[in-house]
Amino acid sequence: MFNGSSTLQSLVKLLPFTFVTLLTNPLTRYYINSEDIRCKCICPPYREVEGQIYKQNVSLKDCNCLHVVDPMPVDGRDVEAYCLRCECKYEERSSGTIKFTIIMYLSILGLLLLYMVYLTLLEPILKRRLFGHSQLIQNYDDVGDQQPFANAHNVLSRSHSRPNMLNKVEHAQQRWRRQVQEQRKSVFDRHVVLS
């Protein structure tokens, strides 16, 4: 049951995501607030009456011309003929989902931008400043020698001699950056793939 436990572990990792998906989508539909339903009637021009659009906050069963078109522009005799031309549609949306999505999107975009700015602008400066006194650290730490351009973060974390976890993250980050560099080379410089 060795395989099972690793699957379970990864499932637990995924759980928050599934949970959010399940929570935001179908459930919100049961708690739709009155802001999020409308009945929209489009009435085309009729004799001398101009075309009009009516929107009302009514439930699905009341979504018809007689309930929604409020100041009725024609008098009793013509109401039926007028209403026959109108088209009424019941629509609902979830403004909560919209708000959540947009804010979520903007925050992810913001994080990515910040990280990009950090990687391209701040890190080289930090690195330069740290390399001055990081020589000492690198002397007894030969890992740095393999990667002459190891990032400043790496040096920092080693100097604090944090527990293994941070090193692992650093290692993963290093690997990822090498990988992206490789991709960039093949896509943007050598035009080997994806051109």
Partner: protein, 834 residues
Amino acid sequence: MSTVPLEMSDFWTKSGFRMREHPGYCNGGFDGLHPPSDDDDMVDIAGATLDFSSTDDVPPLSSGVYEEHQSRAGVNGTGPSSLMDPLEDPVPGLGTYEDFNTIDWVREKSKDRDRHREITKNSRRSTAALLHSISDAFSGWLLMLLVGLMAGALAGGIDIAAHWLTDMKEGICLDGFWFSHEHCCWKSSETTFKDRDRCPQWQTWGELITGTSEGAFSYILNYLIYIVWALFFAFLAVTLVRAFAPYACGSGIPEIKTILSGFIIRGYLGKWTLITKTVTLVLAVSSGLSLGKEGPLVHVACCCANILCHLFTKYRKNEAKRREVLSAAAAVGVSVAFGAPIGGVLFSLEEVSYYFPLKTLWRSFFAALVAAFTLRSINPFGNSRLVLFYVEFHAPWHLVELVPFIFLGIFGGLWGALFIKANIAWCRIRKTTRLGRYPIVEVLAVTAVTALVAYPNSYTRMSGAELISELFNDCSLLDSSQLCGYLQPANISETGIGNSLADRPAGPGLFTALWQLALALLFKMLITVVTFGMKVPSGLFIPSMAVGAIAGRLLGVGMEQLAYYNHDGLIFKGWCTPEADCITPGLYAMVGAAACLGGVTRMTVSLVVIMFELTGGLEYIVPLMAAAMTSKWVADAFGREGIYEAHIRLNGYPFLEPKEEFEHSSLAVDVMRPRRSDPPLAVLTQDSMTVGGVEALVESTRYSGFPVVVSQESPRLVGFVLRRDLLISIDNARKRQDGVVGASLVVFSEHPPAQAPDGPPPLRLRGIMDLSPFTVTDHTPMTSPDIFRKLGLRQFCLVSPRVTRRLLGIITKKDILKHMAQIANRDPDSILFN
């Protein structure tokens, strides 16, 4: 050493015992022995170099080793287990592939079969194992469910965000900045029949700054701000792609096709690609560039599937099984892009998949369904539809109208062929000249031109999907758009009930719309050629559909006016009475869109089904089929490749096109390597090479596999070893096994040869050797490359037809591709990877 046992074992493996080919490593117990971190290495590392330091830092657990031994004994019976040495612990990374390599489907399939057999056998022993076997059997469907949920949720998010960001270029909602223009005016009762989308809550930038929506100053301000936003979004998109995931650019379908055919591109379907592609896709679509989100959504769905595959051992460890899931994910992508689950499944079957068994068909169907349901429950457009341009009309069509539909098909085919030629030429310029060195400048320049030209024309200013939805729309009394600017007959209010209208003469509004549309058509045709293939996520479906829809609408309106003014003419007599609604321009737009999309991608069945699912009108199947088929014929006359195949060839991916026929009559001996002038084949011998010799051979060549022969003097084929397996095993042995030095013998035979007692112990590598490489004789006709495709082979060896099985040469997939390129008078060196 006697050769009889060798022949015996060859005989047995040839007769179907593929499970014996990797006795130590590739049977069931091997799977799942490595912690996930190790797997991440294997999947996500992009560099083609072998990173030993990162693969062996986690030693296998002792319990796993025990299980491994047990299973070995079980499967192999009296196999060579008595000869087992410490090396035969599972070596991390064995049985995986290097970047930019082709997988061996046969090996993967047999690996899965062994694994399955193991689980079934164990399940009779204990309840826990039984539960494990049940969960294993169920995991495929569970994975499909998760893929559907995740891809559907992401597609919903992309729809909402792109809609909002597109409107952001024009103005902002004062009620809440997160509302798009449409949702801003959702509740407003100030909208009028003429100006449907104008409400006080929504303020254009000019209005916000100058306080008035009229006047030249406000217009110019809006114009400028539109361009600035467009440039800003495009800049963000291209820099993010460049910084985080260069693989996220482009449409992704050519690469997905190649990956599904067995190619490995590490990191192409990884987490960073997923995040970057999702985020930048929204930016690219919102920047107003002439591109769509449909193709990239297929890529996004495949990324989801690949990431979720990590949760299930069955799929994590097996490249062939994972490709089945990816096939289904491609279906999911189209399902959410067009709200067409069945069309998605057919798209996967017709256009992208390579290996598509019935089981995958059912799973794709299920996943597409789940995804469509998820998207529907998010309701991104607030109208309970899955796509923006869903249409609903049921006007009948007349048989005579097939003639203009076929004309649209011809137009679509011509446009498709022309587009492919022009786009490939442009991409080749980008690939080879200095243009390719300035991707960011290129994106910004194209965006600037697009925004500058697009803004004044309302049909190019709106997004592609909105344009299509407007063109598909049939003009009823309820519509007040410019496109419906017909002259109203005086007696309209008295005649007819309901909103369908008889044909009417065109009014000034319609004439304005028509010339604007004509300009838009020209502009879209030109700008799409340079847009597709830039370094931002860019899909092709929407732009080509837009081109077709404009052309179709123009033709439709023309037909309508023709019918109106000649209703008693020869053709229209009988079905176009003055009061009848006999021509529906929206239908022409739809047929035109299908024709152009068909011309560019060469889809037929899936295209018609997608369009049918978009409209829900069964009666339009025949016009759509006629147009799609004509367009394919016309386009095929100019070149048999669709845009995706053309891009695959441009990049030189090793992809065997299943649609292509191979008519040349060549023999295997003409295709094989080495040629007469080449140096002899690099081979390993079964028991006379040293570790140092093997390493030198591997270092001096770039082949990804080596045949093993009995000896240099009698080159009889024994087996086949992959380069990566060989390197990993030797490296591992040097680290863990005592006494393995450069002078140690490498032994592939079952029994090591007698040797001096004081020499170093031999290194036994029989376990990593494929004992039954696929062999053919030298006079086998190469009538089709199907032998590679149908059997899923990577390479096969040529032997002399006698009993001696003397090794003559080797043919790889790449050799076949080169050979085909040579026959077609193309440069054989354009095939890049092996």
